[in-house]
Amino acid sequence: MPLVRREQTASGGPHGNVPSLSSQDMEQRRQAALALAGDGTALPRLAAALAVETAAPVREALLDAIAGIGTRAAALVLLPALRSDDAGVRNAALVALQTMPSVLPGLLPDLLIDGDSDVRVLAAELARALPPVEATGILCRMLEGETHANVCGAAMDVLAQVGTADALPCLQVVADRFAGDAFIGFAARTAMARIRG
């Protein structure tokens, strides 16, 4: 029978050498980042590495390591990545930030009025990680003054999933404000229907 069983592993695994964030080897840099996950004292080193890292697997490990620290200071290190020209970087930062719900309420008010509408779209998506009542309140306050259709659409998409009944009046106001925009009307009606159940 060509099936073999070995009690010992065939390789030493990914932790064979002492890893370093500045290693030439991508795997070593990734392992170094993972080893520092959640270590608040390593935040400056992780931030410096994130600023120059171009390899996606290492970058993802750095983002996770920083997110694992879980502090406002750690979240502030991740925020610039939301403005990256690289969609992969933006998405990776978004996912990492969504794992830090305790610090998001303090960051979202500024992000939701950011001058860059793309950042506001991502900020609306970040609210998905909050408890429903909190997400509803934050997104409704944003929708009251938001004029960009894509941002409103993103916020309503999140409300459709996690919004409470408190969002219904706000959604109606947005639908009325964008009366000539078929997409916004559809998104608002969909969100309201889902919330009403």
């Binding site: 060509p2 099936l3 073999v4 069983r5 065939a10 993972l34 996606a56 490990a61 969504q98």
Partner: protein
């Protein structure tokens, strides 16, 4: 369409809009897709969760569940088919032999080892299925040393797996010729795997969230991780995927369950579309994205 009639001992009714909402919720949160053909299945499990959590309406239950992570997980678990059997999702085994292993062996020399990891392996049906499928359907199997490891967090399941004793229901998808070749029937109607096959699989306990324990298993060419990630939240799923990434050789493949995807939570893998299924490949070319 009329709501599905509740069971005699339940006054809870699931309306059409509620059915749509729970299906949409499950799809967006887990990737599991339930349509009208699954109406009875969905209604039954949903009513069970509503009653078990002490609620008497979908609306109250759904509001509570959105804010209660534990209940969310219980709900998702209730929709997961826990039962497993030999050759489950057979098309993936077909993809393994027709598409994946030819790619895996491209950069190996005849006689090299090919390592496959069934994670989680539960009571062993999957790793044994891999072994049987390869022996039955891969003409090149004798050219390689195939090492199959089955791992799970549940030691009771692992003991069952190592024993290799199964009921007839577990074998329902196996052709009789295969059953005859690899099993012997016991006096009480069960089926015992032949010793050669039983002893060819190494079973280990591992928690997929434990990076060091995962790394201790070395690197694999293929990991089958089917119907596990749907139990995790995004953060845990991302961590688990990262741990599996580190346990793959460059160019290695991950099989997920048919309703699972890692595209939203990780950019570590390249999506590969084959005739039979979609897989995820660790690709060093994407390393500098």
């Amino acid at each position: 369409m009329m709501p599905t009639a509740p069971p005699k001992d339940s006054a809870i009714t699931i309306g059409d809009a509620e059915f749509d909402r729970i299906c949409d919720f499950l799809y967006r949160r887990t990737g599991m897709i339930f349509g009208e053909v699954k109406r009875h299945y969905v209604d039954r499990r949903l009513r069970e969760r509503i009653e078990a959590s002490g609620h008497d309406s979908f609306r109250d239950y759904f509001t509570m569940m959105l804010a209660d992570t534990d209940e969310y997980e219980r709900l998702v678990s209730s929709f997961t088919i826990n039962e497993t059997y030999f050759y489950r999702e057979e098309y993936q085994f077909r993809c393994l032999t027709t598409s994946v292993l030819p790619l895996v062996t491209q950069h190996k020399r005849r006689g090299d080892t090919i390592r496959l990891w069934s994670l989680p392996c539960a009571t062993g049906e999957e790793p044994y299925s891999i072994a049987i499928w390869l022996l039955e359907n891969w003409a090149s199997v004798d050219d390689w040393q195939v090492e199959i490891v089955g791992s799970d967090i549940d030691t009771t399941a692992l003991r069952t797996a190592a024993a290799g004793l199964y009921g007839a229901r577990s074998l329902m998808r196996l052709p009789t010729s295969v059953t005859d070749r690899y099993f012997t029937r016991t006096e009480d109607g069960h089926f015992q795997l032949i010793p050669d096959l039983c002893s060819s699989i190494r079973f280990t306990r591992v928690n997929v969230m434990d990076r060091a324990a995962m790394a201790a298993h070395g690197r694999f060419d293929v990991i089958l991780c089917r119907n596990m990630l749907i139990y995790f939240d995004d953060k845990s799923r991302r961590e688990a995927i990262g741990n599996m990434y580190d346990c793959l050789v460059d160019g290695g493949f991950i099989f997920l369950g048919h309703a699972e995807s890692m595209s939203r939570v990780s950019s570590l893998f390249q999506v590969r579309r084959f005739d039979e299924t979609i897989l995820y490949q660790k690709n060093t070319e994407t390393a500098h994205g």
